[in-house]
């Protein structure tokens, strides 16, 4: 089956710093999504981005489908950005998740 790899597995930042999270996938996909799981366990859909670039406030994402990777950028990080960030790829009716990047933003 398709492999989804995220890097880095863990990331610690000072408040105000910028970061880039990466997602590599092993096959062509119908769709790619980024999720944030907050410290209370809730999963929030950040971006639906099969290709191209999207921005939402301090967050933006870019997917290069032909090279099978996606990047999530977080600028001017805040403590509320802490949690685990997952990318997930959709093939047919199946959505496969990466293992996630755990982000800790320190005040």
């Amino acid at each position: 089956g398709i492999q989804v790899e995220q890097s880095p597995p863990d990331l610690i930042l000072q408040e105000g710093a910028n970061s880039t999270l990466r997602c590599n996938f092993s096959d062509s996909v119908n769709n790619l999504q980024w999720f944030h799981q907050n410290p209370w366990g809730q999963l929030i859909n950040l971006f639906y981005i099969p290709s191209g670039t999207k921005q939402n406030g301090r967050l933006s994402a870019t997917t290069v489908a032909t090279e099978r990777y996606s990047l999530l950028y977080i600028s001017s990080s805040q403590t509320t950005d802490s949690g685990v960030y997952f990318c997930a790829v959709v093939m047919g009716n199946d959505m496969r998740f990466g293992a996630g990047t755990r982000l800790t933003v320190k005040p």
Binding site: F35, Q42, Y48, V90, G92, N93, F97, G98, G100
Partner: protein, 112 residues
């Protein structure tokens, strides 16, 4: 999350007992999913449904069964719970299976 609820939120059960988790949606979405989340694995798909009485297996379906008799309800059953099924279970819904996924708040299941 608005439009999707899971019950119970927490459950402790003994090895060998049957357990049923419920996912209820008010969005009238066609697709419903059950995932489990374990440390180091992200979320893994157990079963999904693409309509009433239409279900299929996911990546980690062994030991689980599902049923969907109404659009709004998707049940996950562990026929005989084992300790390896201790996990956090998430239900999700999607309009068309391709995007717009919304997740429930999760059910923490402990099998002792």
């Amino acid at each position: 999350d608005a439009g999707i609820t899971q019950s119970p939120r927490h459950k402790v059960t003994e090895t060998g007992t049957p357990v049923t988790l419920r996912c209820h949606q008010t969005e009238n979405h066609r697709y419903m999913y059950w995932y489990r989340q374990d440390p180091g694995h992200g979320l893994r798909l157990i079963h999904y449904s693409y309509g009433v009485k239409d279900t299929d297996k996911g990546e980690v379906s062994d030991g689980y069964s599902v049923s969907r008799s109404k659009t709004e309800d998707f049940l996950l059953t562990l026929e005989s719970a084992t300790s390896s099924q201790t996990s956090v279970y998430f239900c999700a819904i999607s309009i068309n299976g391709n995007y717009g996924y919304t997740f429930g708040s999760g059910t923490r299941l402990t099998v002792v």
